[in-house]
């Protein structure tokens, strides 16, 4: 089979994970110009094999050769450099960046076009491969299908010799699939090869030149796609030996069970018109290739995803509006994502187990400790959970025991209907058997179980009946002796139903307006408008407001705040926060008061500037290192520096003293054509920084790191360095603010500047920055600072008392933050992230 035209060759690859031999001496070869399909069941080893090819997984033995060169030390970047590109099913795009920026970022640094020309470059690339995406759009606004297309575009722009597509049609409609196939043909026509991983045999038959089948980590063979039938492929895919012990099923000749759960015309986001019923004592499986709606239907029954339709428990209408409603109808859900949604990892086994059934171990509102411990101990013994004690944090248990805790919690609730999502994911063989026993036990005790599993063999061994989903609908129901791995997999793989509804969006005028509102420029526009309105109103009430003196003093005061706000924004972009800016600005003033006093000379000034720069750099480094190296949360780290800096200021100047030389003040407050020079500098700096944030390499890096640290790291960003640099940059900008502050107060006042911490955050947030990092605008921050200062200046002119200097900013920030988060579609509340993160 070997020809010199092989662009990807894996030889005798072996990979063992604890307890599992994932790949057993697999060899695999892909030729230039072919579409090579890789098929197999869930867990057959396809993903591991491709991870080995992509350098993401290091094999125990065996070699990987890409375009004729053997990878000696496999890393993702080495594989990419040799010409392999992978499009994963789970997208790895950065939400806060635009389509064009994501594409640029996927290239190795030396090949990146300048960011100024990025949009044009991206548009051209997208046109070449016939993908319709607006390069200027922010990825966070894209739908699933569009994200996937972007992933493909990201891979293709690297001009790969081998392109690996992992389940590329899962979220595509039939029309979009056709377009994708056309693109694939174009790509292979240039001599590149495509590895096409898919569950869908009809598609595979159409697109692939050759196909290889994996089963249980073993290569079953490579065939010409034209020469094998779907049935033959299926024969090779299924047929794992049953090595697991399953409890007995409900006897086939048993009298028909009373239906406990009845579902009719049940529809939701990814499933349509689903109907089935489950009787007492039965275990029913929902099967299908991942992403075909079976899991969504289960979650909708649990009340987690929204749905409509008729759900009945014991014949009575049951609300599944939310999880709480589902629970009171007797439906208990056992989440598939154990770590994120199932368990409270930091809490104890006891707290996790009793959570759903606290009423049973309490007298009134008070939890009875003895009763709780006894109950939990009973569950631990019953499920044979291995834990040092019931007070052990559940996160420290093994996967199997964690899963058993979930079962202990769910069964303690005595559900009428137990919904189990991937009940044995990441669980060792011994624990699996016990989990199967528990599930059968639950069913036998007058309940019923609905299970979603990606393991067809598990469904075969466990279920009395299996409904197979494809693209959101039940396409086949298997019962009795028909519940076999082969039938389940066959029904799922050969289904040709199509995804309903198009994910492509129409670009209407309304949509454009929405996009603008969600963009970075909108806040600046709104602030500018507010600024002008307030100026007009105030001038109308009191013409002195618009006098040169008042305006120029306002602009001067703004410049101090604006510099500090710019610094704050740098840190906020990395998803951090710097509370120490206020005291640092104050310390700058205090230090200056020692060098810039009355009668000081030029030499003193130089030395003074050097000292304050040194102080700022030291503070920035301290913050950065506390955050990155000591791993304190940014709030804590900068809180500590806040306190220390304030202490140092007080140490140096216990009381305000040390008047600054008038020359220095005059220097800082000089004007050009009536406008303070400092304000001109601030405006220029805002524009430069704004441009750099959008167009330069460091700007991109900063936003990438703030958007998603892990993904940015995978794309080659030096996260730690970027964050530390942001804190140092913040300190230096704060230093500039401190200089301006010194001109305002003219004396070494240790408490000067403290208010700037919160005001700078206010200004930056008004300017549209996200506290979660990744987005913000320097021009917005400038306008935020300007508006805040205008409010402070205008209130006396308007005859309003001092309280309005607080009311107005307070109202502004609440409305602004609320409006921005609405416009950007941020999920509210329940998932709000902790402030310190």
């Amino acid at each position: 089979m070997s020809t010199p035209r092989a662009v990807l060759r894996l030889t005798d690859v072996e990979k063992t994970y604890p307890g599992v031999r994932a790949l057993k001496r697999v060899s695999f070869e892909v030729l230039a110009g072919e579409v090579h399909a890789l098929v197999g069941e869930n867990g057959a080893g396809k993903s591991t094999l491709m991870a080995v090819a992509a350098g993401a997984t290091v094999p125990d033995s065996g070699t990987v050769e890409i375009a004729g060169t053997t990878m000696d030390s496999p890393t993702p970047s080495a594989a990419a450099a040799l010409g392999l590109a992978v499009v994963y099913q789970h997208t790895s795009v950065l939400d806060d960046l635009t389509v064009a920026e994501n594409m640029v970022f996927s290239l190795p640094p030396e090949k990146r076009p300048s960011l100024g020309s990025a949009r044009a470059w991206a548009a051209e690339q997208l046109r070449a491969i016939d993908i319709q995406l607006d390069p200027a759009r922010r990825v966070g606004e894209l739908g699933v299908a569009e994200r996937h297309l972007l992933e493909i575009a990201k891979a293709v722009v690297r001009d790969p010799k081998v392109l690996v597509l992992d389940e590329p049609t899962e979220s595509l409609t039939a029309a979009e699939t056709e377009v994708l196939f056309a693109r694939i043909q174009k790509i292979v026509a240039t001599g590149a090869a495509v590895v096409y991983i898919s569950h869908r045999l009809p598609e595979v038959k159409r697109i692939a030149t050759r196909l290889s089948v994996l089963r249980d980590g073993e290569m079953r063979g490579t065939f010409d796609a034209a020469e094998v039938s779907e049935e033959q492929i299926l024969q090779l895919i299924v047929g794992r030996s049953i090595e697991r012990a399953f409890p007995d099923k409900r006897p086939l000749d048993a009298p028909p069970a009373e239906p406990l759960l009845t579902v009719e015309s049940f529809s939701g986001g990814r499933f349509h018109d689903v109907g089935f019923s489950v009787g007492e004592g039965e275990i029913v499986g929902l099967a299908g290739v991942e992403g075909n709606g079976q899991r969504d239907a289960l979650r909708a029954l649990a009340g987690i995803e929204s749905s409509r339709g008729d759900v009945r428990v014991r014949g009575a209408a049951a609300s599944v509006r939310d999880p709480r409603a589902a629970q009171s109808s007797g439906i208990v859900y056992l989440p598939g994502d154990r770590h994120e949604e199932g368990l409270f990892l930091d809490l104890s086994v006891r707290e996790n187990t009793s959570l759903l059934s606290l009423g049973r171990v309490a007298s009134g509102p008070v939890v009875r400790s003895a009763r709780e411990r006894a109950t939990v101990a009973h569950q631990i013994a019953d499920l044979q959970i291995k834990t040092p004690s019931e007070d052990t944090p559940v996160g420290s248990l093994s996967g199997g025991n964690q899963q058993k805790v979930l079962f202990a919690r769910s069964t303690l609730k005595q559900p009428t209907v137990l919904l189990a999502d991937e009940p044995t994911r990441g669980v060792d063989a011994g624990a699996r058997v016990e989990i199967y026993r528990v599930m059968r036990g639950v069913a036998a005790e007058g309940s019923c179980v609905v299970v979603v599993s990606s393991d067809a063999l598990e469904l075969q061994g466990l279920c009395d009946r299996v409904h197979v989903f494809s693209r959101g609908q039940i396409v086949r129901t298997l019962e009795g002796d028909d519940v076999t791995e082969e039938n389940i997999t066959g029904a799922a793989l050969t289904a040709t139903s199509e995804h309903r509804g198009s994910l492509a969006q129409q670009a209407s005028r309304w949509l454009k307006a929405r996009r603008f509102a969600a963009g970075d420029r909108a806040p600046a526009l709104v602030l500018a408008l507010l600024f002008i309105l307030l100026a007009i109103y105030t001038t109308g009430r009191n013409e002195f407001f618009f006098s040169e003196r008042s305006v120029s003093s306002m602009l001067l005061l703004t410049s101090a705040l604006a510099f500090i706000a710019f610094g704050q924004l740098l840190v906020l972009l990395t998803a951090g926060i710097d509370l120490s800016v206020g005291p640092l600005a104050g310390l700058t003033v205090v230090v200056l008061s020692f060098f810039f006093g009355l009668g000081s000379s030029g030499a003193d000034w130089t030395l003074g500037i050097v000292v304050v720069i040194a102080v700022a750099v030291a503070v920035g480094l301290a913050n950065g290192l506390l955050v990155r190296v000591v791993k304190l949360s940014p709030v804590l780290a900068t809180l500590a520096t806040y306190i220390v800096l304030q202490g140092v200021s007080l140490l140096l100047r216990p009381q305000p003293e040390g008047s600054l030389s008038a020359d220095w003040t005059r220097f800082l407050t000089q004007r050009v054509g009536g406008v303070p020079l400092a304000f001109v500098v601030v405006v220029v700096l805002a524009l430069v920084l704004e441009l750099a944030l959008g167009r330069s390499r460091w700007g991109l890096l900063l936003r990438a790191v703030g958007s998603d640290e892990e993904r940015a790291r995978r794309m080659g960003a030096r996260v730690g360095l970027t964050v530390v640099a942001a804190y140092v940059g913040c300190a230096l900008l704060t230093l500039l603010g401190g200089l301006m502050l010194s001109a305002q107060i003219g004396i070494g006042d240790p408490s000067a500047g403290i208010n700037y911490t919160l005001t700078s955050i206010t200004a930056v947030v008004l300017g549209g920055a996200s506290i979660f990092g990744g987005r913000g605008s320097f021009v917005g921050a400038l306008l935020g600072a300007l508006l805040l200062q205008e409010i402070a200046t205008a209130t006396p002119f308007l005859g309003l008392d001092q309280s309005w200097q607080f009311f107005l900013p307070g109202i502004l920030i609440l409305f602004a933050a609320g409006a921005y988060s609405r416009a950007r579609g941020v999920k509210t509340s329940a998932l709000a992230q902790p402030a310190g993160q």
Binding site: A302, G303, I304, P323, R324, A326, Q327, Y333, P335, E340, E341, G342, F344, L345, L347, E351, S354, L355, L358, P365, V366, V367, S369, A370, A377, I380, S389, I577, L626, V630, V635, L636, A640, T641, I643, V644, G647, V648, T762, V765, F772, D801, S803, W804, Q805, F806, F807, G810, L812, L814, A817, G818, S821, T828, S829, A830, A832, Q833, P834, A835
Partner: protein, 342 residues
């Protein structure tokens, strides 16, 4: 924390034959809430050596009310932190409660009770604004409470017209400086409220759900817990604790001034952190926070007693926070294992 011992004592679990209180102690030592207790004991032990007289009865009686008031404020902050938030509205809440109870009665004891009720109601309303902004409008807790703090500060200025010369009514002043069986009333109130908070958090169904909602909002939603309602409620309860701190502070200071709450923001966060409650939310200990507040207050006292300037006080506080938290972040267990492996 003590009811934990009671609960463990009541249980003769079959699996663990060790004597219950001993087992509880051993478990407690491993929690992050333990360290502040010996640290505080150590501080008190060395206090007289550093600053003579800092353990005298009069010194303690002067220090304890401040510790109690800080403990109340920090207890509220702890609850917010447990819900994954950070409350920047502590100063505004305390200040507003303090000016209301000093200005509204206008020196008349008879108007004290309505004044206290108004103070509590005002703080609760402010907390509802924060809470709704956070749970319904998706505003980050930090930003929401920053905004609400500005509103509260505005309200204080509006209500007092910017001048604060009203003394608290005599009854409140007497109460705040009074004692029960030799213990200052402020301390009694703090202990009662903190014990109550601890009991509710640790021992009731409500408390369990509150902790779960903070530990993992997603998992809590999946488990059928009304996360938003718990968060909203937490902001209100915290506000009531701040209000209590503000009322007592007004009585203790007699003329509280305009912004007596200003100096409580950073120490309230510092006390939470020293107590061992993680800023990531979930479990926490109001009692450990209270001990953290005691630690901070006594530390100030000692440093002042040594004749050091308030600047040194700040330096030491900052260093202790950075060091204390830094030490917690060292992966001790892994280091120990590595040493064993070698």
């Amino acid at each position: 924390m003590s009811e934990h011992a009671v609960s463990a004592g009541a249980d003769q679990g079959p699996a663990m034959p060790t004597i219950a209180p001993l087992r509880w102690l051993r478990a407690f030592v491993r929690t992050p809430y333990f360290a502040i207790w010996p640290a505080t004991a150590l501080l008190f032990a060395v206090s007289p050596l550093l600053a003579s007289g800092s353990l005298d009865g009069s010194a303690l009686l002067g220090m304890l009310p401040f510790a109690a008031i800080l403990a109340l404020a920090a207890a509220g902050q702890t609850l917010i932190v447990q819900q994954g938030g950070l409350d920047l509205s502590v100063p505004g809440m305390i200040s507003l409660a303090a000016v209301i109870v000093s200005k509204y009665p206008d020196g008349a004891n008879g108007r004290l009770l309505p004044a206290i009720l108004i103070a509590f109601a005002a703080c609760a309303v402010a907390a509802l604004i924060s809470g709704i902004a956070i749970t319904r409008f998706g505003i980050t807790p930090l930003i929401a409470t920053l905004g609400v703090n500005a509103l509260l500060t505005g309200a204080v200025l509006q209500y007092t017209s910017g001048s604060a010369s009203n003394p608290a009514p005599p009854a409140l002043v007497d109460f705040a400086s009074g004692k029960v069986a030799g213990i200052p009333n402020t301390v009694v109130i703090a202990i009662v409220l903190i014990a109550l908070a601890t009991f509710v958090v640790r021992r009731t169904i409500l408390g369990r759900r509150f902790v779960a909602a903070g530990a993992s909002p997603r998992a809590a939603v999946a488990a059928g817990i009304r996360v938003r309602e718990h968060q909203l409620g937490t902001y209100v309860v915290a506000a009531l604790l701040y209000a209590a701190a503000g009322v007592l502070l007004a009585g203790f200071l007699q003329t509280p001034g305009l912004q007596p709450g200003q100096q409580y923001l950073l120490p309230s966060i510092a006390a939470v952190v020293l107590g061992g409650t993680a800023l990531t939310g979930g479990s926490g200990s109001v009692a450990a926070t209270a001990v953290g507040a005691l630690f901070l207050t006594q530390l100030n006292q000692v440093v002042l007693g040594m004749g050091a300037a308030s600047s040194v006080q700040l330096l030491i506080q900052g260093a202790i926070i950075a060091l204390g938290m830094g030490l917690r972040n060292v992966p001790w267990a892994r280091l120990r294992r590595a040493r064993v492996a070698n």
